[in-house]
């Protein structure tokens, strides 16, 4: 293998980019942003139709648009961007060349072909089967084939990532263990391999069914295995965006992990337990045993929830420790008040952490509790939950990372820094509200994936309470506000890429500069109070726990008033 490549050291961040890796990160990130743009345009159709007083699109168009919105956002935007993150966390953070760049480009090509093929199938009509495409409802063969090609491409991308880790180790570009952020990326990649394999196991026979090569795919088995793909792919996101949280804490504050052992241990819990969550979608299904449901839905006794609660403490905790070391040491919260709220990388990540925990995390555990699932399953509470995890958690973190990457990777200044300062607030906070009102409507029973809550044309219509209509109207308003925030992000990203002021690059060399070996730091923290290095974060964590416990038992109380079921 030839090693003829160059390495650029970014003058602002000191990060070192190998030229092939840099192009690959850029290509994958831009492809992701294009799908975010398409998915965002489709979102307009979704929210304006579910807003009862507007009820914009025809039923057939609505289901088509909703199918494409789900796929473009949950699969294509996020996985393209994640592949970019994997290459960044391996080649850039470990300062080595990327393994097999030609294979990586082939993977990229497969992903582009697959995602375009799948989108075309949906726009042609006849494939409005929703992202989940539950058999026996069938889509066009190219719908499944597109997904399969995309998945194969992403899988190859994961192996290029693993190969790059080997390159770094063999060429000794770093000493000791990989950085924590890279460790998080490894977690994401391992989960991705499991996820994509599950997708292949179920989508290949379904594609064969659509070609009439086989006669039957069992609908229940489809649901169980499809969700090992569908849910686990969201767990890739969790591992990826938590890595970004650590990354941003490091670059904005110079924060070091409170304890490598705890943070890495929490990632390890993800690797072992996160994939069990397929069960979340089967809790109200026939066929699976209670034992299977209870054990799987709780990620084996909630060990993955434990991991998330750990990250939720250690990341703000690391920020607090770093701020206190800088002298922001007054009271419990001076460190937070004096945080760089005008830096969109920080504000985006902080809004993401809080929203992911309070809205996405708590609601997720409710839905994932075997019995409580019955009062939530397939209501619009479900999209309320996953917009809090995937949009507030993942998408907003990716946006925050982008503001860091524009000067560093794109080598451009952000075209409108004033607008960038506000974008995470507009997008994140309107998304908070969007999720809350969706969960409110879902608590009243309103269905997800439903064109008309007035049931026009039904022989036995049901009338939803007025509060449900109010909530769905607010969903529309909040949705439009969030889409505006998303549009600003696209404008800033694409605009900076095209018209931003170029940043002069000087340091280019033909050899990588290895990461220097750092001197061990004094281990013991001397800030904080009561022997707590991060007392403010601990108080915030206790507020979180109180909200969690209270809401958990409110739901049990609600369940206990229902019909007897056994």
């Amino acid at each position: 293998m030839s090693h003829k490549t160059t390495y650029r050291t970014c003058p602002r961040s000191g990060l070192q980019f190998e030229s092939q890796a840099e192009k690959l990160v850029l290509a994958n990130a831009v492809a992701g942003v294009i799908f975010l743009l398409i998915g965002g345009i489709l979102a307009i159709g979704v929210v304006l139709t579910r807003w009862p007083t507007i009820h914009w699109l025809e039923a057939s168009t609505f289901y088509q648009v909703l199918t494409a919105h789900g796929l473009d956002m949950l699969v294509f935007w996020i996985i393209f961007f994640e592949i970019a993150i994997l290459y960044f966390c391996s080649s850039t953070l470990l300062r080595c060349r990327i393994a097999t760049p030609k294979v990586a480009w082939a993977a990229f090509a497969l992903m582009v072909i697959g995602s375009v093929m799948n989108n075309v199938a949906v726009y042609q009509g006849g494939s409005s089967v929703m992202m989940t495409s539950y058999v026996p409802m069938m889509a066009a063969p190219s719908f499944y084939l597109g997904l399969i090609l995309f998945a194969v491409g992403a899988l190859i991308g994961c192996f290029v990532f693993f190969g790059t880790l080997v390159v770094a180790k063999r060429e000794k570009t770093y000493q000791g263990s990989v950085p924590l952020v890279t460790f998080g990326a490894i977690t994401a990649a391992i989960i991705a391999v499991f996820t994509i394999a599950s997708g292949a196991i179920i989508l290949i026979p379904t594609w064969m069914l659509s070609m009439n090569w086989i006669e039957h795919v069992d609908p229940l088995i489809y649901r169980v295995i499809w969700w090992a793909f569908g849910h686990s792919s969201q767990q890739i996101n969790v591992a990826a965006h938590i890595s970004i949280w650590y990354f941003v804490a490091a670059v904005v504050f110079g924060a070091k992990p409170m304890s490598e052992r705890v943070s890495r241990g929490a990632f390890l819990l993800y690797i072992v337990f996160l994939q069990l969550a397929s069960a979340h979608h089967i809790l109200s299904d026939p066929g699976m045993s209670t034992e299977w449901k209870v054990l799987n839905t709780s990620y084996f006794m909630y060990f993955a929830v434990l991991a998330s609660m750990i990250h939720g403490l250690t990341i703000p905790g690391a920020m607090e420790v770093a701020q206190r070391a800088k002298g922001y040491n007054k009271g419990l919260f001076e460190w937070l008040r004096k945080a760089p709220w005008g830096n969109p990388s920080f504000s985006g990540v902080f809004i993401s952490i809080v929203g992911f925990g309070f809205l996405g995390g708590i609601s997720g555990v409710m839905m994932g509790t075997e019995q409580l699932n019955m009062i939530i399953h397939n209501t619009i509470y479900v999209p309320g939950h996953f917009h809090a995890t995937v949009v507030v958690g993942t998408t907003l973190s990716f946006m925050a990372l982008t503001y860091f990457l524009i000067p560093v990777l794109f080598k451009r200044d952000i075209i409108n820094p004033g607008l960038a300062k506000w974008q995470p607030y507009l997008f994140g906070l309107s998304m908070y509200f969007f999720c809350l009102v969706m969960m409110g409507a879902g608590t009243l029973g309103v269905s997800r994936r439903h064109w008309d809550m007035a049931f026009s044309g039904a022989a036995l219509a049901y009338e939803w309470p007025g509060a449900a209509y109010l909530m769905m109207g607010l969903v529309g308003i909040a949705g439009i506000a969030a889409i505006t925030g998303g549009a600003i992000y696209i404008y800033l990203t694409v605009g900076s890429l095209l018209w931003g002021k170029r940043i002069a690059q000087t340091k280019i060399s033909s050899e990588p500069t290895p990461i220097p070996v750092g001197a061990p730091s004094a281990a013991v923290q001397t800030y904080g109070s009561l022997g707590f290095a991060a007392p403010g974060t601990f108080v915030l964590a206790m507020v979180f726990l109180a909200a969690f416990v209270l809401y958990y038992f409110i739901n049990w109380k609600y369940l206990s008033t229902l019909w007897g079921l056994s």
Binding site: A59, Y63, L93, Y134, P179, L180, R223, A250, A255, P257, M258, E260, R261, S284, P286, G287, M288, S289, T290, K293, V294, S298, M301, F303, V305, M309, I310, L313, E370, Q371, I376, H377, N378, T379, L444, G445, S447, R449, H450, D452, G457, A458, A459, L460, Y462, I515, G518, P520, S521, A523, V524, G531, A533, L545, V549, L559, L562, W563, G564, L565
Partner: protein, 186 residues
């Protein structure tokens, strides 16, 4: 010294835990265990647990069982489609077909009585979403799911389909009447 650099101490796993982390991990662990055992507790002492009694079935078999119940216990018909309203005796097996795009038949049950409700689909996945109680159960074709129910409030309930099943999905609404004492039955 930072999350984007290799740990400076090669033996990072021997690094002592900060007290704030240790305390939080202990609290979070206890909470996780409470949540786990709450599900088991509810299976023993709670009254709302979803049955897992399931049989493989066919559309013909399930339709014929439902038809037999309709033939025996129909008390009247409703709507332009002349949907039968069926009032089987308490304690019996009651059937509800989910299909494009209705639930069939309409059931009329007694408040506070126990019924074995059989659910299956004739075609795609459907959702049994009982409103306004808000009980939601997935209906999967090829599987007959038997759920023991005890209604606790009389009135008119709607069954909204909440699994996407095609263009007429929004017209798919069924009905269950609960007769007898108004108000809650313990």
């Amino acid at each position: 010294m930072s999350a984007i650099l290799p740990p400076t101490e090669r033996l990072w796993w021997k690094h002592p835990l900060d007290r704030v982390e240790g305390t939080w991990i202990a609290i979070a662990f206890v909470w996780c265990m409470i949540m786990f055992f709450m599900m088991i507790y509810w299976h023993i002492y709670g009254k709302q647990n979803l049955s897992t009694e399931t049989y493989k079935t066919t559309t013909e078999l399930f339709a014929s069982k439902t038809q037999a119940m309709v033939d025996k216990y129909t008390v009247r018909t409703e709507t332009d489609l002349e949907t039968p309203v069926v009032a089987p005796p308490p304690g019996s097996d009651v059937y509800m077909i989910a299909r494009l795009w209705n639930f069939w038949p309409i059931l009329e049950l007694q408040n506070g009585q126990t019924y074995r409700l059989h659910l299956s689909s004739m075609d795609y996945n459907h959702g049994f979403s009982l409103q306004p109680a808000n009980i939601n159960i997935q209906i999967v074709p090829g599987y007959e799911h038997v759920v023991t129910i005890v209604p606790n409030q009389s009135g008119t309930y709607s069954v909204v389909c909440n699994e996407f099943c095609g263009i007429g999905h929004h017209t798919m609404v069924g009905r269950i009447y609960i007769k007898g004492e108004t108000g809650n039955v313990p």
